[in-house]
Structure formats: C-alpha cells, structure tokens
Symmetry: C2
Subunit: 295 residues, 2 copies
C-alpha cells in the first residue's frame, strides 16, 4: 500500500503552493511535511514536487494527487454504508477543469446548485476547451468539460451538446472595416478579439471562410465578459458564444460578419472512471444543465 | 545598439509560444528565428527563452520584450511627427495586467472604448491584484491595475480609488451555517468561496473579524461571474466586489455576513515611465472610468 499520510502531505503542498502552508493546513510541522514528501519520493523513485514559488507537482506527482482525490471520494461514499465510518467531517474535493465560456454561461449555475447541497468542495480551474483534457490526462483534475470526444486513459466521455459561436462585431465596426465585404484583405487589417494565445476559433473561422490562413491583428481579452464588452465597444470582431450574445444580436447591438456562418464546438464531459456517488452526482447536474443550454 | 530584428524574433517566440509559429508571424523560416534568438543570447550572455510547450521568456528575456514594446510605442508616437515615418500599418501592442474583478466590472468598457478608436492592440492578462505588479516588474507588461501603491522600478503609480468587497452569502446559506452567529467555530465549518489559490481576501476578513487565523473549507471558482452565481446558489460565502453584487444585495438575494464590515482594496494604475502618447491615452481612459466606478 502507498503511504496515505505522505500522499496527503504531497497533495497539501501542491494545493497550498508551499511546505509551510501545507504544514499549517495539516496541523503538523513543516519538517514533518517535507520528510513525508521526501520519503514518498524515495519510495516511488522520482521527484514529485518542483520546489518553487509556488511549489508544483511533477507529472508523477499529479498522478498521485489524482489517485488520492479518487481514494478520498471513494472513502466518502463508504460513509453512507458503514455505521461507524472514518471520523471525518471533511468534505470531498472535486477538482474539475472547465472552459471559460461554459463557466461564464451554463456551467456555473449547475455546478453551484449541486455543490450547495452535496458534501463536496469544488476546485474549478479554467482552460481552453481544447486543453482541459490535458489536465485530466495529467491527473490534475478528476473531470473536465472538453472539446475532445476521445476519453483520456481511465476516463469516460459523455456528449454534452454543442456550444455555438458566431463571428460578430458592432454595426459601427462593420461599417468601418467591412464596408467592402469580409474577405482575406479586410480581415488582415481589421482587429480581431482573441481570448488568449490558445484561442484558435477566429483563425478556424477565417480559414473556413477564406479557404486559407490569414494573419489576424488581435487584441487579447482573457475574460468572457470583457470579450463581449470589447465587441460592443467596436474594439474588434470575434467568435462569441451564442448564449452570451443572443440578446445583443436580437437588439442589433452586435451583428454577424457573414450571416449564417456559425461554428459549433461539441463539448464532452470526461471524468475519471472510478465510480463515486459524488462525482456521478456532479456529472448528472452538468449533463442536465448542458442539455437545457446547448444545441 | 541592440539588434532589433533579433529582439522582434525573441518577442514573437514568447508571444506565439513556439519558434514555428513565430516564424509564420514574421514571414521567415524557423531556423532564421532560432538563429536570431541564439545570437542575441550569445550577445547578452544568458538564456532568453525557456524552450518548452509553450516557450517562455527568462527574466532577462522578459525585460528585453518589454524594452521592445516600449521602443515600438515610441516609434508609433513618431509617426505623427515625421511626414514620412517607417512604413508600418502595424498597430502598437499594449500588454497590460488587470485583476479579474476590475476586468469584469469597470475596466473592460473603458479599455474597450479606448482601444476601439486608438491604433493599438490590447494584450490583457489577468492576475490577482496583489500579483499584477510582479508582471510589471518582470517586464511582461507595460502597465497594470494593482493593489501595490509603491511604483515598480522605472514605473509611475497613480491612485485609482478603492474597490469595496463585502463578505456575503445567500439568506438560505446564512440560516444553514450561521444561525448561531458568525464566529471562528461556524466559519471553520461553513464552505467559503475562493477565487484562486492566491486569493487572500476571505482569510484577511476572517482574521480581522475573529482576531485570529481560521482554516476555511473552500471551493475554488476562478471566474467573477461563477463566483457571484455560487454565492446566489448558496454554495458558500465569499468576499464579493460591490459593483458586481449591489443589485443582488438590494433585492435581498445576497446578505452581508456581518453588516457594515466591508474591506476596501485600494487600486493603482502603474505604468512604464517612458512617455508614450498611446499608453498615456489608455491611462487617462482607465483613470476616468475608475473615478466614476470606484470609491
């Protein structure tokens, strides 16, 4: 068996970012934490923590952290079965990765509703829908909303529906930049909006429309609300998620660059296969919300 | 003089994350990019890029990138003075770090309004208000909205006002967890909301109220809107920024844990000192918006 006190020390260091704060959280001395992690590293034969500001898990360390999170979830399920379970008032931690547009629209109310009544602590991390699956694979999270259909090793995948994106801009922006039409030439000069460096949606839409890649001047706006605001203010055009801009399109404050050219991004709920009633409960809440909100 | 073609190659690698994509952006071969960066590294005597997925700048590399951004801004100002300026239709890049709550409330409309009419490309990065100043110091950005009053080296600092935070929860959550009052004992059991691991606001409020540190069970919700949703759904209590929750407080959907115990976070606009009309213009727009929105 693995040494679970040592695993808990490892997970606390990674979660809190330092050996000192991990020691506070576990009510032990920093040297006890550091000794447990060191012994575990000797046992498994490789480094588990990259010492730094903050401390981070190595790849093997991430797998061990995910393993611990799964074991804790399973222990939690046991409490309903055993009359005298482990004396823990501790809530189970559910690390989940979500793409920002889902979190800003349909995901947050569903997850909040579930976590408000279930004995869990949700630990959400935000990443691009093309990259949340990596976090699942690396063991950093137990579940993810992702654009990848193919399940990661040890995971199940369920279709959530598609999040529709439209290439939109303000009417003023359209008049300034696309009066002569939306082609490669005008797109190469008109500022676009990019959520972050990983965001490929604008480039994909342009490649589909123009049948070639066009280098796009871009603003970087890593916030779904700022992204919408920027569109409204005529700062640039961008692929906006339909649930966030539907009322603005209806009011004519945003318009499609080329009417009827949506891009649909299919989303999947991937989760670690080890059955756990708590993770299953979150999954059901997420699936129900997605089916109501997505296409 | 520094080799500016090499600096541009360095900045493109850091911006795009790989030598291949930098080469595409600069319309040269990847080996040309890699040679320019290597020669620059030999010249300055240290590594400038950490080769990885994605490639990142070393500390010296970040300083060189910021220097290049400043030089580009200054060149941009020249275009108004010289009848025949450098033949560039390129917009100036303004890398700026902003805390998430500012970006989600007062900052986005102001910056979008400015960038919609000025010949710039805004590159926003989001970080905790206690950490945006580090990005300025490290040279990753030219300006930042930060909680640090003391200007970073080579920077000016202007007060923006204070962003007010209130410890709030839903009425149902209050009844479930704080029926016997808000003390260390009840706070140690009631789930709190944390924006991310860097978020110290909840811990600071508890330390002030209880006159000691209390370990808080916490959900992690790295999105201002998800944070508000989680509060509404009764998932936990948290320090919410007043501009985002004022209507919800007025409607009674959220209530203060202890009435009249706000925490005010003073915010500052810090920017690189090298005068540039474009950076000054953004600064004026940000200051005006902050004065209208903050206390």
């Amino acid at each position: 068996m693995l040494d679970y006190a040592a695993l808990a020390a490892l997970a606390a260091v990674v979660r809190e970012g330092s050996f000192e704060r991990a020691a506070q959280a576990l009510h032990v001395t920093p040297s006890a934490v550091s000794q447990r992690v060191r012994l575990l590293e000797e046992r498994v034969g490789c480094a588990l923590v990259i010492r730094g500001q903050p401390c981070r898990a190595t790849e093997v360390g991430q797998h061990l952290c995910r393993h611990l999170a799964q074991v804790r979830l399973l222990e939690h399920d046991l409490q309903d079965v055993l009359p005298v379970a482990a004396p823990t008032a501790e809530r189970a931690r559910l690390p989940v990765a979500v793409n920002a547009d889902s979190l800003a629209s349909w995901f947050a109310p569903a997850a909040a509703q579930y976590a408000a009544s279930a004995p869990v602590l949700l630990e959400l991390t935000v990443d691009d829908q093309d990259h949340t699956a990596e976090r699942l694979r690396s063991g950093a999270v137990l579940a993810a909303v992702t654009a990848l259909a193919k399940p990661a090793a040890g995971c199940n995948s369920q279709a959530l529906g598609t999040l529709r994106y439209l290439a939109v801009a303000s009417p003023g922006f359209m008049a300034r930049h696309f009066a002569e039409g939306v082609q490669a030439r005008s797109l190469a000069l008109a500022p676009s909006l990019l959520f972050d460096r990983k965001d490929q949606l604008q480039a994909r839409w342009v490649r589909r429309q123009c049948r070639k890649a066009v280098p796009l001047p871009c603003h970087l706006l890593p916030s779904p609300q700022a992204f919408v605001e920027a569109g409204l203010a005529g700062m640039g055009w961008g692929m906006q998620p339909l649930p966030l801009v539907q009322p603005l399109l209806a009011a004519g404050r945003l318009v499609e660059l080329v009417p009827g050219t949506p891009m649909d991004v299919p989303l999947y709920w991937q989760h670690a296969r080890a059955a756990s009633a708590l993770l299953d409960g979150l999954g059901r809440a997420v699936l129900a919300a997605a089916r109501a909100a997505l296409g």
